[in-house]
């Protein structure tokens, strides 16, 4: 499976670190990180079928709901907490992000940018909720409970005293870096508290 954001996340992670992947799906990212970076990984996933795929890959995974919280983990118990394409799907993203920042030294979030120019175009000129490669669902069948732009997330970090350590955008093109809130389909940010 060719997931360009996996390469970006892989590049952000230091070898032999500990990683908690919230909403790890079938575990492809964790499996790649275990193999390429020698990380010690733990996944959390709500879908039972996906759990079987994770176990087949030899991953440690909890069948659980992210909104249930990470209360059982002590502060900074992981080097990285990953929330790739999951933040917009949880009921209470603020709570989950805060908890992720508590248990992880660093948090990597990946999300679709609602202010991507194609999305803006569809909303502005067609008067329709946008359907783009990074937001591929219709309004009635989307797993996304929250829609946010890159600028929204930057504002959130500023208000919450969260530091953005690294930013990467897709598509991976130098022009996207000039106006990411307009040109990026999705964003991957590494953040930390303080």
């Amino acid at each position: 499976m060719d997931r360009p954001e996996y390469k970006i996340i892989e590049a952000m992670i230091v070898p032999n670190s500990t990683v908690l992947d919230l909403g790890c799906g079938e575990g492809d990212l964790l499996y790649m990180l275990e193999r390429q970076k020698g990380i010690k990984g733990q996944g959390v996933e709500i879908d039972e079928t996906a759990i079987y795929s994770c176990v087949a890959k030899g991953l440690n995974v909890f069948h659980d709901d992210l909104d249930n919280g990470l209360v059982d983990y002590t502060d900074k118990s992981f080097d990285y907490v990953i929330m790739n394409q999951t933040m917009q799907e949880v009921i209470d993203p603020h709570k989950v992000i805060s908890e992720a920042l508590r248990v992880g030294k660093r948090v990597i979030v990946g999300f679709p940018n609602f202010a991507y120019w194609k999305a803006r175009f569809q909303l502005f000129f067609c008067g329709r909720a946008p359907v783009t490669p990074s937001l591929p669902h219709q309004w009635f069948d989307t797993p996304n409970l929250h829609f946010l732009s890159l600028a929204d997330f930057r504002d959130y970090c500023k208000n919450q005293g969260i530091t953005i350590l690294q930013s990467a955008y897709l598509p991976d093109h130098f022009l996207v870096n000039l106006l990411p809130n307009l040109l990026a389909e999705s964003a991957i940010l590494m953040i930390t508290r303080g």
Binding site: Q42, E48, Y52, G58, L59, V61, D64, D72
Partner: protein, 391 residues
């Protein structure tokens, strides 16, 4: 829900025989957790597969309340295989082409291991209620003696459901350095009031049977009715409302006329049948002692904080629970997972969708096999275990 993995399940382990091992003989006595002493102790056990040269591929299977050492294969002349045959054998979850699988009857049992039905060497009569109270910890300590006898220093895994799961958790606590992994299924860190309550009703049914005679009934009539009723209560708790409804509904049996308190509903008939079958193979006093051991089980005893429970454990853990299991509900398995998390253990938890209730741990073979076989392979790989590989 799962795709078949292309590997055929094979034809099982074939004909097997129960073996026996005796310890705590002569002046040597086995000290029990609650203060009693026992000796000699005989352990009935079976093994499947081959132990490798460095004795590192052994897996201990621990059974539930009514189980025994005969987990897989067939005894000569039997029509029914062991109680977890679908899970143990060549190409199965506990793959006997790779692993050496051991299962023993628990202390206090009535299927070959020393229990209340065994002869008390001091009186040359069956122990009856002179048998001392036992605990899950005692059962596990007896299993450790068996492993010492077999020369196995470290288990690749220990696995079991229900009361078997309690033994798995006790293994983690009692012998943290003697196991590489653990698979507790549909179980709990401690019995709750509801679980104790169901067991107590079962015990009271036995003790209310006039043939029970304060436990000294051997050689005469046995408290068959009481034991059958205890088993009937058990069976109700092992199924879900839905699985019972699907299996029996309000179906009636033949043309028996109702209201004469005969077993006219199919569900009644089923419970009677299960109760009567159980009496043929189980001892009422063993039922009392073993259910009491389950009720006494509490790894959080004395207000032990959850992060302390598995403090010394290094084993990798696979916790499995079933959605419709109301006897050992999901939240109890999640508590085990919490304890593992707090101890920093490498843990996997899966809640299998099933409508079979607590019985699911014996029935959801495909899902369990997938999880367990991949998990065991990973444990073997991580620890460079040389597998028998007779396949």
């Amino acid at each position: 829900m799962l795709r078949q993995e292309g590997k055929s399940p094979g034809s099982g382990v074939g004909i097997v025989k129960t073996k026996y091992f005796t310890f705590a003989e002569g002046n040597e006595r086995f000290n029990l957790t609650l203060g009693g002493k026992l000796g000699p102790i005989t352990v009935a056990y079976e093994t499947y597969g081959e132990l490798n040269e460095d004795k590192s591929n052994a897996i201990l299977i621990v059974h539930a309340l009514s189980g025994d050492a005969h987990a897989a294969g067939y005894h000569e002349g039997d029509k029914k295989p062991g109680w977890w045959d679908a899970m143990i054998g060549p190409g199965r979850a506990f793959d006997t082409n790779k692993f050496f699988v051991i299962c023993s009857n628990v202390l206090g049992g009535c299927r070959g291991t020393t229990g209340p039905i065994s002869l008390n060497p001091e009186t040359q009569e069956p122990y009856g209620l002179n048998f001392p109270l036992i605990t899950i910890r005692d059962m596990v300590r007896v299993q450790r003696h068996l492993l010492d006898h077999l020369g196995i220093k470290r288990l690749l895994s220990v696995a079991g459901g229900s009361m078997g799961g309690m033994q798995v958790l006790q293994w983690m606590v009692s012998y943290p350095t003697r196991l590489l992994s653990a698979i507790p299924i549909a179980t709990t860190l401690r019995h709750t009031a509801q679980q104790i309550a169901f067991n107590e009703v079962g015990r009271q049914a036995i003790m209310a049977d006039p043939y029970w005679k304060s436990g000294f009934y051997y050689g005469g009539y046995i408290p068959a009715k009481g034991l059958a009723v205890a088993r009937m209560i058990g069976h109700i708790t092992y199924m879900s409302e839905k699985s019972m409804e699907e299996k029996f509904g309000r179906q009636r049996k033949g043309n028996v006329s109702p209201f004469k308190f005969t077993a006219d509903f199919e569900v009644e008939n089923y419970l009677h049948y299960k109760g009567d079958k159980f009496v043929e193979r189980f001892d009422a006093n063993s039922y009392l002692y073993i259910t009491k051991a389950m009720d006494l089980f509490d790894l959080t005893a004395g207000g032990k904080p959850i992060e302390e429970i598995f403090k010394k454990v290094e084993a990798k853990v696979l916790v499995i629970a079933f959605k419709s299991d109301w006897l050992y509900p999901i939240h109890q398995s999640k508590e085990i997972v919490r304890a593992c998390k707090k101890a920093g253990l490498q843990t996997t938890f899966c809640e299998i969708y099933s409508e079979y209730g607590h019985d699911a741990f014996l029935l959801e073979v495909e899902e369990e096999s997938h999880l367990i076989s991949h998990f065991l392979n990973k444990v073997a790989r991580e620890n460079d275990i040389e597998l028998s590989d007779l396949g």
